[in-house]
């Protein structure tokens, strides 16, 4: 790991100022992705700005008809949140299935979304729920947030402050975990809203994506059987030592059915 200057400001204006001091400054949340990345010398920030000094960014709250999750809420906090377990258990379960207990004690929703790993779990929820990603500058819809492999619509120095989730009628997440890392080989989040169904897939492609054919079929009949015969093309999907693209395409169908079945 190359050395860097570590800072832990205690207010948002100070954090922004610290991030603005250099184009090589990076925010540090749970460090569960960033520290391994630094060890591999894949990044060389001059300054790391630790966000843990900020107060009030690590809570899960009910605000009107939405649930607001602070960017610094750990996976363990989301998994244990009484509000989520009651009103959106699919999201609590997703967080409880990330990595292992130690990773969940440190890793945060903001860090996971900002990182946009193709196999990360949260992106599936953010897109299926079309959650608003709120930053220090603006609000980005879930549909517009993820741009590609490790690529989001965040600008240099832009900070995620919270994620605002609209409650669906029903939702479930089914993942086929890589047995070693627990990352999603394929994960499918299905959310049924009054005005339609959204199906988002992580792990299979370079970034999270929706499957419109499945959404239309489920809007007509919200049952696993409605997905019979709907194939997702393998072209463009990931092939690596863990799974070939055609296997991932197959798993999308299997995981989508499991998620729908788990909704009822």
């Amino acid at each position: 790991m190359y050395d860097f200057d570590y800072q832990r400001p205690s207010s948002m204006p100070e954090v922004k100022k610290a991030l603005a001091t250099s184009t090589d400054a990076m925010p540090l949340a749970g460090g569960q992705t960033l520290i391994p990345t630094l060890k591999q010398r894949l990044r060389k920030p001059a300054v790391l700005v630790d966000l843990q000094g900020l107060r009030g960014f690590n809570e899960v709250q009910s605000v009107g008809d939405k649930i607001v999750i602070g960017a610094m809420a750990t996976h363990a906090t989301v998994a244990a949140s009484p509000i989520l377990r009651k009103r959106l258990p699919a999201l609590a379960a997703l967080a409880g299935g990330i990595g292992d207990p130690h990773v969940r004690n440190r890793g945060t929703i903001g860090g996971s979304i900002a990182n946009a790993d193709p196999a990360a779990d949260y992106p599936a929820a953010v897109v299926a729920l079309n959650a608003d990603v709120v930053t220090d500058r603006r609000t980005v819809t879930g549909d517009a947030f993820f741009k590609g492999l490790f690529e989001t619509s965040l600008e240099q120095g832009e900070l995620i402050t919270s994620v605002h989730v609209k409650l669906p009628e029903k939702a479930a997440y089914a993942k086929f975990p890589n047995p070693a890392s627990r990352f999603a080989l394929v994960g499918v989040f299905v959310a049924k809203f009054k005005d339609g169904v959204r199906v988002a897939v992580t792990g299979a492609g370079p970034t999270v994506f929706r499957v419109k054919t499945m959404e239309e079929a489920l809007a007509k009949s919200f049952a696993a059987a409605a997905l019979d015969g709907i194939a997702v093309p393998a072209s463009g999907l990931n092939s690596d030592l863990h799974a070939a693209a055609d296997y991932r395409a197959h798993l999308i169908g299997v995981m989508a059915k499991r998620a729908v079945a788990a909704c009822s």
């Binding site: 570590y6 630790d50 990773v103």
Partner: protein, 156 residues
């Protein structure tokens, strides 16, 4: 260079560090608490697990400065003098180790499992141990040890 102030196993500890210094380096290299092991250094194996403010974390994946002001408990902080912690005793009694390299992290994780799931069944224990790898035992006796240790901790 920055300094970090910790409470380690109940005692105040200060160290001069770099930004990039890991918590495990302060424990092992500065404080000579070599019970905490580095198995992989890639956040996978859990040999380096310690408790920071009561929560188990991989100390190879926490910067020393991130833990500034925190209370850290390492494997050395569990026993009372010569009396082993009930979870340590259970690993000994159940033959929950062979080479012993993974054991400090296993026990730190196990103590947390027992706190959160005092009546943990085998499936829960195996799920909760997902972040701790053992290359020797095949896990059967580790699971037994966690169950036995949790029962002993319940009895207090």
């Amino acid at each position: 260079m920055p300094t970090v102030s910790l409470t380690v196993n109940g005692k105040a500890a200060n160290a001069t560090v770099e930004g990039r210094t890991l918590l495990v380096q302060v424990l092992r290299e500065t404080l000579k608490l070599t019970g905490t092991h580095v198995g992989c250094d890639t956040s996978q194996c859990g040999a380096c697990v310690v408790h920071v403010d009561g929560k188990p974390v991989k100390s190879c994946t926490v910067l020393a400065l991130q833990a500034d002001g925190c209370a850290v408990t390492s494997i050395e902080g569990l026993s009372q003098g010569a009396d082993l912690h009930p979870m340590q005793q259970a690993f000994r009694d159940c033959h929950g180790l062979q080479c012993g390299f993974c054991t400090p992290g296993m026990i730190m994780t196990a103590v947390d499992i027992a706190k959160r799931h005092p009546e943990a069944d085998e499936a829960t224990i195996r799920r909760e141990l997902e972040g701790n790898l053992c290359r020797c035992t095949g896990y059967a006796n580790i699971v037994k040890a966690v169950q036995t240790g949790a029962a002993a901790m319940r009895q207090g």
